[in-house]
Amino acid sequence: MTETTKTPAPDAMPTPPALRGLIPLPAAAARALLLAGGIATAASAFLAWTWTDEFPGDLTFNGYPGGLQWLTFTAGVLTALFALASYGVRGLGWLLPARNNAPLVLTALGGFTVTWFTVIAISVELGGVVNLEPGGWIAAIASLLPVLGAFALPQERTAADGTKETLKAYIAKPDRIPAPQATSGWVQRAVITAVTIIGLGVFTYGIDTEYGQLFVGYLFVVTFAMWAIHTAGLLDRFSALVAANRSFTLAMGFAAAIAFPFTQTDDHYANIGVNILIFGTVALGLNIVVGLAGLLDLGYVAFLGVGAYTAALVSGSEFSTISGVHLPFWASALAGAAASLVFGVLIGAPTLRLRGDYLAIVTLGFGEIFRIAVNNMDGDSGPDVTNGPNGIANIPDLNLLGFNFGQAHDIGGFTLGRFANYYLLMVLIMAIVVLVYTRAADSRIGRSWIAIREDETAATAMGINGFRVKLVAFALGAALAGLAGTVSAHVTYSVVPTPYQFAGSTPPNSAFLLAAVVLGGMGTVAGPLLGAALLYLLPEKLVFLQDKSLLAFGIALILLMRFRPEGIIANRRRQLEFHETGQLDVPKQTTLTDEPAVTKAGA
């Protein structure tokens, strides 16, 4: 659908000769500098940057890149590729559909940032620039060249408004991107498959990063590369492909998710994977409440807790107060979801009569009530249900149809450890939650949630029973969180009250869940999952930040909300809202006639 609105424009390539870059260089020289700089950056990754292997990743080899050097290499290659594409090299045209310079600038900046970050990190960590080998200096200079070249390129004035600020014009996405040529179905599917494989590779690399510096460098490269791809217009084209092959993409996504544990040799990373999945699934459940129905729930993690505690109580653990009961997993999963649903209705019924801020405060209170109540139900200050702060330990591993989740299994030559088993179970649960989410969202009830979010008064005037519909959203969200909670109880061996709080430095807690939804993109499926992955990995990988990790996290959130308020993955509504042209909120194209312009019919 998107490409039809972006009609091919003959003036898509603005080449007024008067435009010069920030750095006075002829455009041809600038372009050459970019290409040469990109190649040099990639090549410099093969040199030794430091003399000792004390800096993690061992950057001491000539002829073979290690650790962060791989990232520099990738960024250099990307810069060179985009530079070649901007020369119009045959076969690379698809890289730059918009024929703009922004991707060049961004990839150059990406290479520059990751290289200089590495060089500075080496100097700081080993105590002085003397620890840099000549290779390090060469890399620093080589990565600076494409940046110089990029800023010497004439900046684009996106035809519509010439008022863009100088620097912003370098990294802006053009308003018009030529429509792609029609491709056959199997080409589209091949592209989606390739992107999925690359995506899995990139994602796996991020999870497997062994030390904080590598993860930071990885974030730099991925951010700049994605941004470059976005400004090049490739993301728009890809989302058009996805829209055309929705079920195929979904299948590929799940195939990639299932493939993940098979790429891992260390069960520790499968552990990260399963925790991300639990966190992401709960975030997706919260997305129904926050993203669709627009109810700000600050105590949502309590439902995860209800599910986890229910599963722990019926797991047959010797510490459970009803230890005689040992339900099979399907029953305990249903019990967990049902218990959460009941709690959702109990909490929702009195609170959902409130709106906006009041609702947020009351849900925050109920979330805390859950944690404090669980903390006190230890037989001393309350009935003996949850063992208080000690929690329920020694939760036995699941056993489904003779498949013991606690043991490693060999499947087709791959060894799947304990966490990998749970990971695969979580993929299944996530599939259920994704299915529930998408089906609920695209239906009468989903529309009434969105209507309630948009304007509650108008929605009730359209015959929607606001309270009832909101209660359904609340209860459904709670049940999904409870379902995820039942698995999380088994994964972590024990349940204790502490993680189920409003805010903390590690996920999951209500604040992090909400942040995952908002950061990733409200009202989308992929958004909360991506947000959850990011928010789980950041504290996990950046242990060297220690107590400053929350500060860094806060700064990152503020920056993201300032520059991309719709979240990393914008939902279709938001996209239309911000990017559909020829409409009232884009004054330059408004037609003043009474007759609607027929040419817009395709939109």
Binding site: I450, E454, T460, M462, L476, P596
Partner: protein
Amino acid sequence: MTTPVLEARGVTMRFGGLTAVRSVDFTVNAGEIVGLIGPNGAGKTTFFNCLTGLYVPTEGTVSYKGTVLPPKPHLVTQAGIARTFQNIRLFANMTVLENVLVGRHTRTKEGLWSALLRGPGFKKAERASEERAMELLEFIGLAHKRDHLARNLPYGEQRKLEIARAMASEPGLLLLDEPTAGMNPQETRATEELVFAIRDKGIAVLLIEHDMRFVFNLSDRVAVLVQGEKLVEGTSDVVQADERVIAAYLGEPFEGDPGEAEAAEVEAAEAAAEASPSTTSSTKGEAK
């Protein structure tokens, strides 16, 4: 023409000490277009909100086709009264089609389970809803913009879309709150035709309006609300000729007008001044 669609009896709305609507009796018959006019602050919109259940009237009852309506907006809509708002209240970030589909809410049944299981019944109902919604969009002339966001429509089309959304609930009575506010003469004329077309579909229409030509052209009957009370009700001619209505809008020349004496005095003084110009000049000199 004789069965009342809407019957309001003794509707009174008080906000604390302020009585916004005072014991208004009001009926709308099937197939009628009724106008409700009155100066600003007369309580027209408050009365509307009482009719549609947004406000719970302090006293009085509202009944639709003989059954008394509970004061809950969604139940009122379910019963068959749909409305638009004075300041447009579309679901701005939903598409045009989705807006109309939301209007279909009361006439469809599919709940959460049906949405999750996606049986044949669900698909059939969704398709039927969409067809009906598209018919309505054709009717108001917005079918070609079905996938645009409501917020991106021009003002006049937003008004039309709001009417289509209200009509999607298959009402027997449509309440329009200032449907031509902010429209240019051509758009107003188009709206006029639209309202007639809606009436021809068998839907009674009650409208609040400030554009007098529009109201008197359209309405079979016009009621005038002044300071919360119904002043007059009747055909356009009756209402237009009524002095109390003119007075309510323009203010009335009341008897024993103190201005009359003053005017006579001024006239007399002028006459005197003309008669003796010398006096006038001398007074001028004194003034200096």
